[in-house]
Amino acid sequence: MEPDEVIDAALPWERVRRSRAPRVPHLVLAWSLDEPERVGEVLPIPRPTAIGRGGPLADDPFPRGALHQLRPGRAIAGPPITSARIGRQQLVVEPRGEEAVHVRSIGPARVRVAGKVVTEAVARLGDVIEIHNAAVFLVTSRAPQPASTTSLDFPYGAADPFGMIGESELAWRVRDAVAFAAATSRHVLILGESGAGKELAARAVHGLSKRRERTLIARNAATMPDALIDAELFGNVRNYPNPGMAERPGLIGEADGSTLFLDEIGDLPEKSQVHLLRVLDDGGEYSRLGEAVARRSSVRLVAATNRPLETLKRDFLARFTHRITLPGLAERREDVPLLLAAILRRTARENPQIAARFFERRTGEIAEPRLAPDLVIRLLGHPFTHHVRELERLVWLAIGTADADYIGLTADVERELSESAESSTDTSELDRDTLAKALADNERSPTKTAKALGLKNRYVLIRLLKKHGLSATESDS
């Protein structure tokens, strides 16, 4: 017996550290002609599974799989699939490891895997399985999920009380991180690319905290003129620094007992970061400009940035006890259909003409949008660079350039998707050695290295470095 095994058996923390729950392939319903309200539901494939319309049949080759509303610590099996165009016995899907499935079509509907009509094929993580004019499934992989630490309860697939949409593992990981941070009064740094939902997360931290009764004070640090940053932050007495200036409490004073959300904190000059250090300590001490007395503010700072952490001063960075990293949309593809549905619902609510043209009406009421599966499939494979904001723009482009009564993949949307996909390099080919060499060749400058590797920006590089256990700074690498 290996000594490690003895340790494993004896110490629970060792067991947790050494064991890894196996992941299981899942199919996420991304589009459905007849059951659009079930988009986002998940069909686990832990073993060979039969998929078809209706309940089990005696001659099913394997136990029949069911679509689930799957959340951390909760799995609710939904009713059988009712889509008319899905055969009573349509697919047999078998797991192939943790991230792939073998698909066999046994029904009348044509089946495509990754765009090709097949009778059988292997579909891998991120591939799409399409049942012609009936349903689109995205292949994903999930670990058995532990119970969530959040107590949020809202309809499956809908926006949570703070407006965040997503049922993916990563979406729930963010919700858990937000809830964990919110339960304390410590400062929070939210990291994520533009459009990933940093302000939503900040508002959620405030909304879940004990400070929620007070108004959240929000400001974009990038919009503060350099000369006035300190006055904006700390306030000033009357006539200081310029005659005629009114007395101002400053953002720190305004947010006393509440939360101050500073977006684009990476744009705050180093000098201002230093000025903030004292008020971010436990005492919360600060002074208004022109005033000798020290004031105290029990402000909680939630800051956000889309820049690499290296842009912040170390001692300033150290004040943020919690860091919440928001995943990009391409990292949580299974949430794209839910976001798409939410954007379209909002669009229909706000624009009766669009609703009349692109949405079905059932017994007088606006119902589901006429949404072409090819658009959904292309969006599922798109390497989003501006995330939800980009998705929203693409939806509007699809609506604006539609030449029929459905929202689909128009030539303009196709061009836009192709152009932005081309500009985003495939980073999967960049291994640790390549990255390390590129860093060395470019004086360890993240900007130069990112450019040399053809990456979109420094942030992408920093994430890649982190993934490979590297850092741009010499001492950490």
Binding site: L33, A84, R88, G107, R361, T363
Partner: protein, 127 residues
């Protein structure tokens, strides 16, 4: 699977426009029926038709389901202004569209099965 399920599945799989053709055939023979179909868009109507037809074919042996669903269907049809003489019109449009979509698969056995099932369905709806 029953012959009804087989013919319907094959039809829906081979012809995306099957519901559209059904309504075209129905309205061509009885234009006055158009007035009954204004509450939903044609796309939604097509989906509802295919969904309901498939569900009924799937549940022909489930007496509880049939009783519940047909009761609802009967009540809603009355409220839409459907009258008993319209049911045969719908039946003929359905058989004609199925025959066209199935081609050689529309055998005498298939037609007999559909006509019998439709007849008992109408009897159940009209009470």
């Amino acid at each position: 699977m029953s012959i009804l399920q087989q013919t319907l599945e094959r039809t829906l799989a081979n012809d995306d426009t099957f519901p559209t053709k059904f309504y075209q055939r129905l309205f061509a023979a009885h234009p006055e029926l158009r007035a009954l179909f204004t509450r939903s868009t044609p796309g939604a109507q097509n989906k509802m038709f295919a969904q309901k037809l498939t569900a009924i074919v799937d549940h022909l042996d489930d007496a509880t389901w049939m009783k519940r669903e047909l009761g609802t269907l009967a009540a809603s049809h009355v409220s839409y202004g459907v009258t008993p003489e319209m049911y045969p019109w719908v039946g003929e449009a359905l058989f004609g569209t199925l025959a066209e979509a199935c081609g050689e698969a529309w055998t005498a056995d298939a037609e007999r099965a559909w006509r019998e099932a439709y007849s008992s369905l109408v009897t159940a709806i009209l009470g």
